[in-house]
């Protein structure tokens, strides 16, 4: 269907169309919008991890300057507001089916805009103050007197799963909301029973937050004349926010308009609705004034949806030759106080066997509530966790059983001739050349030169560590996407329901459209983010956007080319079949006459056209695609540890990523770079730490939450591999998350290698200087003790 020879834009590293706007301050972020008569909202937040709301006295706050209203959970209930319908259980045909214990329906605790019963995490909004100015609202929020009854709390993932842990929801006997099993447990047990080797590992992939540059914000207004609400709120997809906010407000969706133009970072944190979105809309109707909210950075740290937080216990049964016989995994996901998404647990569940051909496996997947901010799919939802588990387990197996870590991997990798490959928990890997990725990577990373570099580092008093990891991940996401393609005399407009937060959709979608229609790249514009224009769309998450957009655009192009042919036939006075379309030109075989898209568009509004050709040169096309794709690759890094301080430097970092068809290598490389930094951040610096004594989050600012910075990163070597996926017209897989997926595993693999002289180490992420130094001290003490013994 696609004519690759005609590609003029696809595959080219074209500079991004959106950059001039963004770097010259012409971006339209939520906080850039202000409305006449606008007032400000500020939240009253719980200081306790778990507390019953006994009473809220708003009298003092109401008497303060500029205050227009103070609202509580009781008011929300009185107005009949509905909980946010997060719909957290993944439900495409290919998602792992999660259930409650014993196959029951998953219990989803109601997520009201403001709770009337109790606060379930530190920072949960329990009341909202609206005042003329932001300062007034904030001052009055401090004057709202909330009487709390403190309750026992639990924040830790394992502790929350204990039967006698403090309970968050009366509807459940404990905090476990999901308990599902996958794979063949009987066959797995049998394989383990006869295996000569079993290797086991437990790891906690800790909790992190996206820290987008643009703090979350919302501006809501209500028009009493039309009965319509407008919400400005940056998100991962305005269409979803519109549907969910309409439900919260008990309004038909057409009464809501959601606008999300430029978004300053997402990483998953913005892919679920925030209570403030509903609150500003609700208050705007009550007060007859537009209401705005903007989170402080400290509020973002406390109450942006967070990521990861999975405890995984994995075992591998291995035969004498190093062939993997079976795998067993138990994954426990901490969803926080309310269940916004089970995507991380579900996505990871389908990938526990990683890049390896493991005949049988079984997995128990559980999720627990805890007195913490809810977690959400965070860049590469669920995959870095399971990649960490399988890759670190394979490293451990190699070390304990005396195999070379690369050789052990090669012996077990899924081979190209096995594609499409169904893994032991039922995921169908679409395509890929996993071992070839490894070979490319080892060349790129100069694996041969490692020992020389190790010696050089040693001469400088440093410990060189080399990390290695393979990965395979999945891109599923919401299955539906819609595109409007409109050809006008001056260009082509595409309206689509994805939502970039820096991914460059305006560029890469234009490249695809340009080549599908045979028009210049510069003549294509992409319209996003206003639900009065964008009628449907799945939003941006799970690496879905390029794949779904190129697919729906390919379908739309067939339709609009057909329309163009019919119009051209009419204009040239020939039969439809006499028209040939090639590279953007409609012509008749035996004539010199031809028409371009833009010539045709000039005639498309002609009143004299027959009925069937009227209505403009445009199509609306819907596609529904459930089949997932499986981006994959390999990754290698080198670190130098300073044994005296526990400090380290990443000296080399190389990746090979099979993204399927690469539409724009400049953008994909950039995505990989950012993805690497995000994954490395989790391994080395980032952590949403909760004080075990008080339940208080202690990382409330950039002073104590360590972000990845450019001066902590080497110059990356990233190589793109394009094994086209057979599942969609362009063969796209995904390029946004592959940088992140293997990063925690590869950094910790390097750490273990660097410290190997001290024996097996047990360093939990983030591997801070303190932890590394302490591990070295303990290792030295062990070595000294074994010498004297």
């Amino acid at each position: 269907m696609l004519n690759e020879r005609a590609f003029k834009a696809v595959g080219k590293p074209l500079p991004r169309k959106e950059d001039l706007r963004l770097v010259t301050g012409k971006g339209r972020f939520t906080d850039d919008f202000n409305m006449p008569g606008q007032v400000w909202a500020s939240m009253v937040r719980s200081p306790y991890p778990h507390a019953r709301i006994v009473a809220i006295d708003v009298a003092d706050a109401l008497g303060m300057p500029g205050v227009l209203g103070v609202y509580t959970g009781v008011d929300c209930a009185r107005d009949g507001l509905q909980p946010i319908p997060h719909n957290p259980v993944p439900s495409t045909n290919f998602d792992m089916k999660l259930t409650g214990p014993g196959g029951t329906k998953v219990f989803i605790g109601s997520h009201m805009l403001l709770p009337a019963d109790k606060a379930r995490h530190v920072g949960e909004a329990v009341a909202m103050v609206v005042a003329d100015t932001r300062d007034q609202a904030q001052a009055a929020a401090e004057a709202v007197a909330v009487e709390y009854e403190e309750l026992p709390w639990v924040a830790d993932t394992l502790a929350a799963a204990e039967p006698d842990a403090p309970r968050l929801w009366d509807e459940l006997p404990d905090n476990v909301l999901v308990d599902s099993s996958f794979g063949d447990a009987v066959a797995t047990d049998a394989a383990f029973a006869r295996a000569p080797h079993v290797v086991t590992m437990t790891a906690h992939i800790g909790r992190v937050t996206g820290a987008p540059l643009e703090p979350r914000a919302a501006l809501g207004s209500y028009d009493a004349e039309t009965g319509r609400y407008t919400l400005y709120a940056g998100s991962g997809g305005a269409v979803r926010q519109k549907r969910e906010m309409a439900e919260v407000l008990n309004e038909p969706p057409e009464n809501l308009r959601v606008i999300s133009f430029d978004v300053g970072g997402n990483f998953g944190t913005r892919n679920r609705a925030y209570v403030e979105f509903g609150l500003v809309l609700w208050a705007s109707k009550k007060l007859g004034r537009p209401v705005k909210f903007r989170a402080e950075r400290s509020e973002s740290f406390l109450t942006d949806y967070q990521g990861r937080d999975l405890v995984t216990e994995v075992s591998l049964a291995i035969d004498r030759d190093g062939k993997f016989l079976a795998m067993r995994a138990s994954n426990l996901s901490n969803v926080g106080s309310r269940c916004a998404s089970l995507s991380p647990l579900s996505k990871g569940a389908g990938l526990i066997t990683g890049s390896y051909d493991i005949p049988v496996a079984t997995l128990r997947a559980r999720a627990v509530y805890s007195c913490t901010m809810p977690t959400q799919a965070y860049r590469s939802s669920g995959r870095p966790e399971v990649t960490f588990a399988i890759e670190r387990l394979v490293d451990k197996a190699a070390r304990e059983l005396g195999f070379d870590r690369l050789e052990l991997r090669r012996r077990n990798m899924v081979r190209p001739e096995q594609m499409p490959y169904v893994n032991a928990v039922g995921s169908t890997y679409d395509s890929g050349e996993y071992e070839a990725n490894m070979d490319k990577l080892l060349a790129l990373a100069d694996w041969q030169g490692i020992e020389a570099r190790r010696a050089d580092a040693k001469a400088r008093g440093k410990l060189l560590g080399v990390g290695f990891a393979n990965y395979v991940e999945s891109s599923i996401g919401t299955p539906k996407e819609r595109a409007d393609v409109i050809v006008r005399p001056d260009g082509v407009e595409v309206v689509i329901g994805t939502q970039p937060a820096g991914q460059g959709h305006e560029t890469s979608f234009a490249q695809v459209t340009a080549d599908l229609l045979g028009v210049p790249f510069d003549n294509v514009t992409i319209t996003l983010g206003d639900t009065d224009v964008v009628s449907a769309g799945g939003g941006t998450h799970s690496g879905r956007s390029m794949r779904h957009a190129s697919t729906v655009l390919a379908l739309a192009s067939v339709e609009i080319i057909e329309k163009g042919c019919a119009l051209a036939a009419h204009c040239l006075g020939v039969e439809r079949d006499a028209i040939q379309f090639d590279e953007g030109v409609f012509r008749v075989a035996d004539r010199n006459t031809s028409l371009s898209w833009f010539d045709l568009a000039g005639r498309a509004d002609d009143k004299s056209l027959p009925e069937s050709l009227r209505g403009g040169l445009k199509v609306r096309c819907d596609s529904e695609m459930h089949t997932p794709v499986f981006p994959n690759g390999a990754c290698c890094c080198e670190i130098e540890v300073d044994p005296e301080t526990g400090g380290l430097e990443i000296t080399r970092y190389s990746t090979v990523d099979d993204v399927g068809r690469c539409i724009n290598p400049l953008i994909v490389h950039g995505q990989t770079h950012g993805g690497i930094a995000q994954g490395v951040g989790q391994a080395l610096w980032e952590q949403c730490y909760i004080d075990p004594g008080s339940g208080q989050p202690t990382n409330g600012s950039f002073m104590d939450y360590g972000m990845p910075r450019f001066d902590n990163m080497p110059s990356f070597k990233t190589q793109i591999v394009e094994v086209l996926s057979p599942t969609n017209p362009f063969g796209v897989k995904a390029g946004g998350e592959g940088g992140t997926t293997p990063a925690p595993a590869v950094i910790m693999s390097a750490m273990e290698d660097a410290l190997s002289e001290f024996g097996p180490m047990d360093i939990e992420m983030p591997a801070t200087g303190l932890k590394i130094w302490s591990a070295i001290q303990q290792g030295r003490a062990r070595l000294a003790a074994s010498k004297t013994a």
Binding site: E296, F702, S774
Partner: protein, 271 residues
């Protein structure tokens, strides 16, 4: 943030006068600590008196054996000053190692010294060089100036006008930075000059910047890195947080001291 009066005097006399005229006023000289504190509502002064507009507080001069730096001189100016680089290169390096580019163009030496953050760099240089903190009222020697965490000998309304650094024979500074805040987890400033050897430690002590007398003694006898080989810092005097235990900090202090000695005349920053 609550509303307040922002005042920008042109000279020290005016600064003193408007400070006295405004109840509950606070001096501002960079604001990297004060402004976040205000935003969090932890301090609520009624007025801010910004000292950075006072030209007489922005200078770098040498007279005799003393290098003087005006209190409102920003870190970037100290870092790039030929005078500082020539006479006390470790001090220029220290200024260049503070925070990031934005911080260095806003933060001032007077603000840092008056704030006496236990992890700040300048207090180590002031104490480690035996400098004199000159105010609108008097001169305070470094040993008397720093009195505890965020505490100094400054009285209410007293303005630091300049710091006088005796130019040493040699000085060096080594620091280990926090990955998140970039403040020092432990840092050591060592100088050898007219008044002998001085060793100041910042970032690590429970009571803020302090002089490591054992190290000074050892280096007075033998000013070589080897002289520190068998010395230790007592963890009991070290602070503890998520970034470092007392034992870790005690170890880092000795490592930084040895590295400072190994790289004379420089600032070394480790992470």
């Amino acid at each position: 943030m609550h509303s307040l009066r922002y005042l920008r005097p042109a000279n020290v006399e005016e600064a003193v006068r408007i400070f006295n005229e405004n109840e509950d006023a606070s001096f501002l000289s960079g604001g990297h600590t004060l402004l976040p504190t205000l935003k969090l509502g932890l301090a609520r002064p009624a007025a801010l008196v910004d000292l950075t507009g006072i030209k007489s507080l922005r200078h770098i001069t040498v007279g005799g054996d003393v290098l003087s730096i005006g209190a409102a001189t920003c870190h970037a100016d100290v870092a790039s000053s030929d005078i500082v680089r020539r006479h006390i290169p470790a001090l220029a390096g220290l200024a260049g190692s503070i925070g990031d580019r934005h911080v260095r163009n806003r933060g001032t030496i007077g603000g840092s010294v008056a704030n006496n953050d236990p992890a700040a760099d300048y207090p180590a240089a002031v104490l480690g060089l035996g400098a004199t903190v000159v105010t609108d009222r008097r001169g305070l020697v470094a040993d008397d100036f720093f009195t505890g965490l965020y505490e100094t000998a400054l009285e209410s309304g007293e303005i630091v006008t300049r710091i006088d650094f005796p130019i040493p024979q040699i000085a060096s500074y080594a620091k280990f930075r926090s990955a998140a805040s970039r403040y020092s987890v432990a840092a050591v400033f060592i100088s050898h000059g007219q008044s002998g050897v001085r060793v100041a430690v910042t970032g690590a002590g429970t009571n803020g910047v302090f002089r490591a007398k054992d190290l000074e003694q050892a280096l007075s006898d033998d000013f070589r890195p080897e002289a520190l080989a068998d010395l230790h810092i007592d963890p009991a005097s070290m602070s503890s947080d998520n970034v470092g235990t007392p034992e870790y900090r005690a170890s880092l202090v000795m490592v930084m001291a040895r590295r400072a000695m190994a790289h004379p005349g420089t600032t070394q920053s480790y992470k």
